[in-house]
Symmetry: C2
Subunit: 319 residues, 2 copies
């Protein structure tokens, strides 16, 4: 069994399209370091979504992308028809260092490489995807994919401080085209100017997306929804190894867990309750990501571990 | 009606004894400042507990303590038989300033005054109190009160970084005599040397108290209990005015809400579920405290507001 099943839903899960970066990362943490490890927003998000729903990746890699890394994505049945191989250069490369306590990180090197010329192209069979995750890339590329998908898709996006600072207007235009915006606490403050996260969440909804999720890392996440506010603590991680990809795998698992619940072949209109349920799974999948470099723990965990942690988290937050 | 009633408990609530400081504070926040406002760990904790249970205060004030501040405590039926008035000096005085975002504070002045000679004395009728909150004071005084109360009391204590740094061994001796230890995140790290709060919580339990609550301010609180881990988000405060007393009113309301549930005249043995329920009320009472200087909002709120926020918080955390 490659995917979770949902006790209340016997239908086929909806499909999740993921667009974002596929990268090789060099990562230095207070405890260890790793070189040329598989990373990028699309890698983490697609692997996370693949535990729940048929997953379709849109991205680009260069001439140096290793067959065994392609095999890792294929092993989880991720559709790679939308993954371009650009032979004119190497794969996107990021080098970063985390500070003590992992609360900040510095980008030491960034080489866009083939990603600089990336123009997402959607294979025809991707276009009926019920869910689209516009992972962290330039907002113009996120909008390009959003536009190619039509009105019936449930569109979610993530971003980072770089785009808030350098492509502010393009990002605001994107926000008006989204159903769901996922963002972390410091970025929410940067984008809204609100230091109070409750106010920041409401301010983000006023910019367009009907639904906003603000992530607080080890402190959990808030959901701002027309039906109300929801707060979910994080799964208690005792051995934090590398936070890279936590947000991307959160978002990927979130859409995957929505896709299970709303099912294939119908307009995706998840309820407040379904989004809360999906956040539970997104939180535990992110907790797996941070327990190892790259997608290692995310890949090795398996369905039983995800289900076990989801049960634990549900028990842990029940008053 | 001066106290909450509990839908599942028609018995009389148990009694809560509170020992700690009664103080006049000068407080400077990024938005406002206040002078000679009623403060101290016992004031906040007793006012908070008084919404739930008969509350008995042990403390000392000086010759300058204003009749109208005594009246504030009496107005909530707090038993002041254990409040000594020492005519030889002024009341304990603290002056502090909060930084931008309220995440740190500096002590600008501290004058112990009559508090320096304080030796808690328990009126005879206090000694059958089912619950005792040993609020933030010197651990030797906390132990003195604990010893005067016998074995059947449920003893809880709070502390601050000052005592962790200056009276470490005395504090460790206190921990071995507690049922419940309440501490905030930075103090938990300081006392255990663990930067991971989950590990810190377990390490604190290993030092003696069967139950440990680690508070994370706006990020909520963890409960470490023999039956498991519980995580509760904070009530979403939009207008933070002055965080002083949040921890003390959390602890006071916590014991008060336990006292309602376990009832008078029997050994207080709250269950995991009862402690979780009490944390819900403790969280909302703390949220009221921080919305104004001193105990102003805590006093003006009333039972209906506490119950309303408790219902909101319960809804907000339900998956």
């Amino acid at each position: 069994m490659k995917r979770l099943t949902h006790p209340r839903h016997s239908h086929e899960p909806a499909a999740v399209l993921v667009v974002g970066s596929v990268a090789y990362d060099d990562i230095i943490t207070p405890r260890a370091s790793g070189e040329r490890i598989l990373g990028g927003s699309a890698s983490y998000a697609a692997l996370a979504a693949s535990y729940f729903a048929p997953t379709r990746l849109v991205g680009v890699v260069g001439h140096d992308f290793a067959p065994h890394d392609l095999a890792r994505l294929r092993a989880r049945d991720i559709d790679l028809a939308g993954l371009q191989v650009d032979p004119t250069g190497p794969t996107f490369h990021w080098k970063g260092r985390y500070h003590e306590n992992f609360n900040r990180r510095d980008t030491l090197e960034i080489h866009l490489n083939v990603f600089e010329r990336f123009r997402p192209q959607l294979p025809e069979h991707y276009k009926n995807s019920e869910y689209a995750l516009l992972g962290n890339i330039h907002p113009a590329l996120q909008r390009h994919v959003r536009a190619a998908l039509g009105k019936n898709v449930f569109a979610a996006a993530d971003t980072i401080d770089l785009w808030i600072k350098t492509t502010h207007d393009e990002l605001l235009a994107l926000l008006r085209e989204l159903d769901l915006f996922v963002i972390n606490d410091t970025e929410a403050e940067l984008l809204t100017g609100e230091t109070n996260l409750i106010r920041a969440g409401h301010a983000l909804r006023a910019k367009g997306p009907r639904i906003v999720i603000v992530k607080k890392g080890e402190h959990g996440a808030y959901l701002f929804h027309p039906d109300g506010l929801f707060a979910l603590p994080a799964y208690p991680v005792v051995e934090l190894h590398d936070p890279t990809g936590a947000g991307d795998s959160f978002a990927g698992a979130l859409l995957g867990a929505l896709a299970i619940q709303t099912g294939a072949g119908k307009p995706p209109t998840p309820t407040f309750a379904q989004i809360k349920e999906a956040m539970l799974f997104a939180t535990v999948v992110a907790s797996l990501t941070v327990e190892a470099f790259s997608c290692d723990r995310l890949e090795s965990a398996g369905i039983a571990e995800i289900q076990k942690r989801a049960n634990e988290l549900r028990a842990m937050v029940t008053v």
